[in-house]
């Protein structure tokens, strides 16, 4: 065998490179696909990571003439199903075919969502600095809410309530912007 593979490591690292390039390009989309079923950020991220491993394992069955993301999402769906099977709470949310319904409807609504979310950056900039900081701490820096609560002297519940209200404000903002665009 050795004579047939004189440079196995070069070959493998090239495949690895290619995989990483494709995966990283699709990572966000895979994450959002998973999050439509399991919206909790940390859990969705864990599922995506499990998906990444499965994808790499099966990367030699990937046909490069086909788009990567739909191929990857099939794996993500399997991994999510396995995740849900092990967790009663998510079963309660997604049982009776709701998971499939959500994915189907989400695909139909995608163009509209994309059109609205083009304004997300603008709307984020319009937020008062304090609100923007909290959104950044939670979504980008992934600051632990418990430790933030401790430092701020607020309860975790209060911080989550603030996040909910800021999201509501963002939602209203992008909807208004998108509406103005078509009107």
């Amino acid at each position: 065998m050795a004579s047939e593979c004189p440079r196995p490591l070069d070959g493998s690292s090239a495949a690895q490179q290619r995989f990483l390039t494709l995966f990283l390009r699709s990572e966000r989309e895979i994450f959002r696909y998973v999050a439509a079923m399991v919206p909790n950020v940390t859990e969705a991220e864990d599922i995506v990571q499990e998906t990444a491993l499965a994808l790499w394992e099966k990367f030699d069955s990937y046909d490069p003439s086909q788009p990567f993301t739909p191929w990857a999402c099939r794996f993500a769906l399997n991994k999510t199903r396995q995740w849900i099977e092990r967790r009663r709470r998510w079963q309660k949310l997604l049982e009776n075919g709701l998971a499939e319904e959500l994915l189907h409807r989400r695909q139909e609504l995608q163009p509209e969502f994309d059109a609205r979310l083009r304004h997300l950056e603008t709307c984020l900039k319009k937020l008062p600095a304090s609100h923007r900081s909290l959104i950044e701490a939670y979504y980008y820096e992934r600051t632990d809410m418990a430790s933030l609560a401790e430092r701020s002297g607020k309860t975790v519940a209060a911080l989550y309530k603030m996040l909910q209200r800021i999201r509501q404000a963002l939602q209203g903002c992008v909807e208004r912007q998108a509406h103005q665009e078509v009107a």
Partner: protein, 541 residues
């Protein structure tokens, strides 16, 4: 537990699901609501989408965060008390790179587990789903004379034979291997990483991802180990020259021979008659191919410019957008029809600059739901002809716009490609609600995606017919029941302004995915010969 939509309880539950704090009972209640109430389902998905976008799109937070910040409570909440002002101290700026590192590590561990041999001998992926069985594409050709129907640049190639009588052609396999053949040559495409060349001269360049590319030449299997090599084959004799890297020669499984850089093997009667130094000069024409290809493209481009200079004098030409002078300051396209000034310019909204039919030719790429070219055409027409050069990337929408008049106004037209590849031209009648749809057979097949196509629609008010053409050939002819006059008014290329609906639903989103690099509007019906001529003027090769 029950929940209705809209309600504050619903809001709280969705937030709790996002934050991972929802109870079993809440999950159950939400499940029941979402399955019953489609409005709640849509709103739920929309909130999740915003949430997951914030969590996944780091670009949204490109500006560095302040080192300290106060968190005052947003509106609708209790009045701010002094203890709402908090400092989070000097939180370090930590974009999430950990994930990537973990992945890379996991990938290399998995690599050991799977075994190197399997990665090395990457099997050809099975084709899945509704896809083309193509394995390669014809990238470019120069003076190519084919023994079969001509193969256009950019065409997808399915397994089978290419027979080139003379000239040069470059084939890019989906595995990444690039092969140039010089006629007379015969090349059999077997898979995306395998081909056979029983006769002819060939130069293969195989980048690392395509290593393992296998070429059958005469009695030999040439297995590439990441190289550039040349093959000259006749029925009696086969030469293999290695210019970079290394290849392995396998003869009917009988013997194996490695061939290193700058080595050449000459085979006669199935055995190596001698080894000598590789001779790049013998493949000079193939090496020069890129350069010659470019020259030939330039020539075609100049011919097109020349033909347009004449065409622009045609008094029946109302609008001619050549997409050449894209003014980045004003985002307009100039109408170069000399005798008609009713439409001075068209306006570009969104769109990306892209390469057109030739390297020097500009194009606009339509991709997002905002991308469009808008123009106002005030004239009324007894007949009209629309002509468009388009490179369709994918049929993503139910309806993919080509030329679309705003709304559904009397006498206007909608010209589009349906998701199944059918070309459709709708003419709206004088009374609201009357319309006639002329549909071609499904002409935009998968192999045509990614290639430049000439599409024409003729609305002939005199002979009362609608004719559509692809690359100069009629693909559909139908009697036209709706009488003239016809008009365009406010019109878009590559998109559609529905007007009637304040918020576009998915079925009203009709943006094109692809590039456009020329548009013509005539105030008369061009006949078959004229359409053919128009195609020949603009064909890429």
């Amino acid at each position: 537990m029950k929940v209705i939509y809209p309600s504050p309880e619903f809001d709280d539950m969705v937030a709790a699901v996002c934050h991972g704090s929802a109870t079993d009972a809440e999950m159950e209640a939400l499940n029941e609501l979402l399955r019953k109430d489609p409005r709640a389902m849509d709103e739920y998905l929309w909130r999740l989408e915003l949430h997951s976008r914030l969590a996944s799109d780091a670009d949204l937070f490109t500006q560095s965060a302040p080192q300290t910040a106060d968190y005052s409570i947003p509106e609708k909440s209790a009045p701010a008390a002094p203890d709402n002002i908090v400092s989070i101290g000097s939180t370090p700026w930590t974009p999430r790179k950990a994930w990537l590192t973990t992945l890379a590590l996991a990938a290399s561990l998995a690599l050991l587990a799977i075994g190197i041999a399997r990665i090395w001998q990457r099997p050809n992926a099975p084709q899945t789903g509704v896809t083309s069985t193509a394995v390669a594409m014809l990238a470019r050709s120069v003076d190519a004379d084919w023994a079969h129907a001509p193969v256009r640049e950019g065409s997808a190639l399915e397994p089978g034979w290419l027979r080139l009588k003379s000239g040069l052609a470059q084939i890019i396999f989906y595995s990444g291997a690039r092969v140039v053949i010089e006629g007379p040559a015969e090349l059999q495409l077997i898979s995306q990483s395998e081909a056979a060349c029983p006769a002819g001269r060939l130069l293969a360049e195989v980048p690392p991802p395509a290593q393992g590319f296998r070429l059958k030449a005469g009695p030999l299997d040439v297995v590439d180990l990441g190289t550039s090599f040349g093959v000259a084959a006749t029925p009696a004799r086969t030469e293999v020259h290695v210019f970079a890297g290394k290849v392995e020669l396998i003869a009917d499984g009988a013997w194996k021979q490695s061939l290193n850089e700058n080595q050449a093997a000459i085979l006669e009667g199935g055995v190596i008659s001698r080894l000598e130094e590789a001779n790049p000069l013998a493949f000079a024409s193939l090496f020069e191919f890129q350069q010659r290809s470019r020259t030939s493209m330039t020539l075609r481009y100049e011919q097109w410019q020349l033909a347009n200079a004449k065409l622009n004098q045609d008094p029946s030409l109302i609008v001619h957008l050549e997409f050449q002078d894209l003014d980045p300051a004003t985002w307009t396209l100039r109408n170069s029809a000399e005798h008609n000034r009713s439409v001075p310019t068209a306006t570009i909204v969104g769109c990306q600059r892209a390469e057109g039919r030739w390297p020097e030719k500009h194009a606009l790429e339509f991709h997002t739901v905002n991308d469009r070219v808008r123009m106002m055409v005030p004239d009324e027409f007894e007949s009209l002809t629309l002509s468009l050069w388009v490179c369709v990337k994918g049929l993503d929408r139910q309806f993919n716009s080509l030329v679309m008049c705003d709304g559904f106004e009397p006498g206007t037209v909608h010209w589009l490609i349906r998701h199944d590849g059918v070309l459709g031209l709708t003419v709206f009648g004088p009374r609201t609600g009357t319309l006639q749809i002329s549909a071609s057979p499904p002409v935009l097949t998968l192999d045509k995606l990614g290639t430049w196509l000439h599409l024409v629609a003729v609305v002939d008010g005199q002979d009362r017919q609608v004719v559509q053409y692809v690359n100069g050939e009629p693909v559909g002819r139908e009697t036209l029941k709706i009488p003239p006059p016809y008009r365009l008014g406010p019109t878009e290329l590559g998109n559609w302004n529905a007007k009637s609906s304040p918020l576009p639903g998915p079925e009203l989103v009709r943006n094109l995915s692809g590039s456009v690099d020329e548009f013509e509007l005539f105030n008369r019906a061009l006949n078959d010969a004229e359409v053919r001529e128009l195609y020949l003027k603009g064909r890429p090769d």
